[in-house]
Every structure is written in structure tokens, then in C-alpha cells.
Symmetry: C5
């Protein structure tokens, strides 16, 4: 998995029928130190995440292992919302902003 | 998934028989800000997309989860045509051109 | 899939028994503009391709979806020989050389 | 697989239900010479590893082949703790520090 | 598949039980011209390869298609030992050294 920040959304009416009802989120990858990167992925939301939240996302076939993405043509899924994240003994992120 | 622009097509007569009837599109990857990149992929079209359109494409085994690509030797599929796409609170793309 | 040029071959006598009879081709990846890159992959041939030809290759689990590669420890397959390829309204490649 | 060092942990309460009880570790990728890189992955622990340990991790669908990760939306798993590691005839790492 | 040179080994006692008995080899990726790169992977040996040998390795789910790696949490496997390898009409490598 990678750590990302949800930065946007995509609307697509004309799509494979198995994708009906799924929410496409634009997720910017973050470094291990909590900095933004230029890499992004469009992921399906499986946990009720929203723009601005820090999340974990899985890619590849593992992205189809949630109930909402099972057997869908989907290669990235948000499967967790991050509460806290600690690296090298320091808290790098804590939900609600006190980093 | 990644955001791409359909920029071309490929014709291939001599191919694995499971690929008969599929349309191969050249898709240029776009950045989260809507800029072109040098990365591309050749993807099978599953949604009736055409050259010039902005699309979502899935790669890997997820590319075989549409009806047209099921069990085919295909590792990339166009599974949605983008209507609008918003990042950091700004609309970065809207179909029919008003960006 | 990606576009590649078959530039060589590999002979390997000592190999997993499921690979008996398969042909290993060295494929150089090409840019969307038809230029050579430094990236390559060793792919199994599933369409009778030869050195010098421009091909499409699929990677990952999709590489096992042809009859010759089914259930083999093979992560890349040549699944089509390119006839023509057009980008941004221009023919970038046409088999038999008139580009 | 790649060699990594466990450098941190992630807590996520709101997650896909299949992930309940799994431990998310932040793993920094190491070079073949034992140096840190800027690449990292968030992996599920399957072997009782802890912060500071040198481990092997597997990614993609292979990350779901341990008992704890079976059928979970998880694309990276720590599947071994490294005892020693030797490259070009030299021991590059030995558990408990004498490198 | 990619071409690599076996440059080392890894010993790991504490590991997922499905990995018992497997040999972990450090494999340095080689360029199409036979030069070393800085990329490496840790692969399970499926063909009796040893340090110093030039091999082919497969990654991803294809790495689980050999008898020794079936259903194991293993994402890279050495599935062939290279005898000769030819690119652009020139032999780039021949086992036993005469390049």
C-alpha cells in the first residue's frame, strides 16, 4: 500500500457497467515524510473517504478484494483512512491536523 | 486507474486469436493537472471511446474484468470516459472543452 | 500493452519444465513516436514474430492468457504484430517500412 | 521480493472490514548494498516483525498468499525477517548488527 | 522476464511457513547490452542456479507458476539459466564466458 491524500474527484457517466455506483477519487501519493509528490492515482473509494483526507490505497489485483470492487475493472482502491502514522520514532501525521 | 488522452490507434492483423475484434488505442498519460506526459500505454477500448477523448484506464489483471477483455491477453483497458475532473477545488477538465 | 521492436533472442536449456518449447525474444520498448528506448523485456512469442518486427506485448498475469503461455511462469508475451500505428493524425509506422 | 527496513507503523481505524487485526508497517526499501532509499511501501506484517528489523517483502497478488493476508485488499506483505545477506562474496548484513 | 546476474543470497529463518525450503537469491538486473544496473530483486530459485550465473527471472503472479513457488508469497522467480543471448545480430553473452 501507499500513503496518499485525496485531492479530487472524477465524474464519468459513460463507463463499463460494472463500475456503476463507484466513486472515483484522485489520490496524490505522499512520501514517507508526509510530503506531496507528483505521482497520483485514480482510486475507487471503499471506506467513505473524502477530499482532504490521508488514506492508504492498494493497487493491482488486491484492489479488487473489497466488497465494492470485487470483479470490477478497477486497479486501485482506498481501503483505509489513516489516523496516525509514525516513522523513525516521530509522529508524522495525526488526523485532525496536529502533526 | 490513470487519466489519459486517446491520441491514436494501432492496427494488427496477425495477433492472438482471443484478441479478434478488439480495438487498440494509444493512450497518453496525463498529469493530475491535465498536462501531457511522455508515458503512454496501448489499451483496449471497452466503452466506445475515440481519438481526442479524455479517459480512465486500468492496467494489470484488472484490465481483464470488462466483458470485452475477459480472459484475453490484454493488460490495459479504457473503462470510462471522463466528464469532469476536479483537483484542489478547481475543475481541471470538462468534456466539450471548457476547462 | 506497449509497442516494442524484437531485437534479439535468448537460448536457455536449463529452465522450468513448463517453459519447454517456448521462444524467448528480447523486445526493446519504443516511444509513442516510434523511437527506441533503453527499456527492454524478454517476452515469449505467441504470434510467430521474428527479429526486426514491431510488436505489441502484454505483461503481468495477462501474459499468461494466450494458449502457448497458459499457466507458465512467463510475465511478458508478444500477442500481436503491428501493421500500422497512427498518433496525432499521423502514421508513425507502417509494416514494410514506408513510415 | 525486495529488502527493506521497518521504520514505522500506521494506525487506521476506519478501514475495509477484511483488514481488521492486521498490522500496517512502513517499510523503507534498501539497495543491494544495504543503503536506505527514498522508496517505501506500507506492508502488512505476517511474521511478527518490528520497527528496526531488516525484512523481505513481497508485493502484488503474491502479498495475499500468507495466511493472514489471504483474500484481503493488501498489496504488500512482510514475509521474512532477514538473518544474513551476502552480495559479491561479502556479508552486507547480519542480524544483531555486526555488518 | 528480465535478464539478471545472481550476485548473492539471503538467509531468513523467521518466515512465512509456505517459504520453508526455498532459496532466496539476490539478482542484479542487467541491461540489454549486458551491463550491470543498480536495480535488483530477491528471487526464489526454481532451476538450480548459483551465484555468478546469468538468468531469466519472472515477477508478479507469474512467479508463482513454477512447482516450487506455487501458492507461495513469492513475487519473483528464477525460471531459466541463460546459455546465449543475442541482440542486434551480435552475441552479447555466452555461458562459460566467451562473450
Amino acid at each position: 500500500m501507499l500513503i496518499g491524500k485525496v485531492v479530487g474527484t472524477i465524474v464519468a457517466t459513460q463507463k463499463d457497467e460494472k463500475l456503476d455506483g463507484l466513486r472515483f477519487m484522485v489520490v496524490r501519493q505522499m512520501t514517507v515524510d508526509g510530503k506531496d509528490t507528483n505521482s497520483y492515482v485514480v482510486a475507487v473509494d471503499a471506506v467513505g473517504s473524502g477530499v482532504g483526507e490521508t488514506v492508504l490505497y492498494a493497487t493491482g489485483s488486491s484492489a479488487r478484494q473489497t466488497t465494492v470492487t470485487d470483479k470490477r475493472p478497477c486497479d486501485a482502491v482506498i481501503m483505509a483512512i489513516v489516523d496516525t502514522w509514525e516513522v523513525d520514532g516521530e509522529v508524522r501525521y495525526q488526523k485532525d491536523g496536529e502533526s
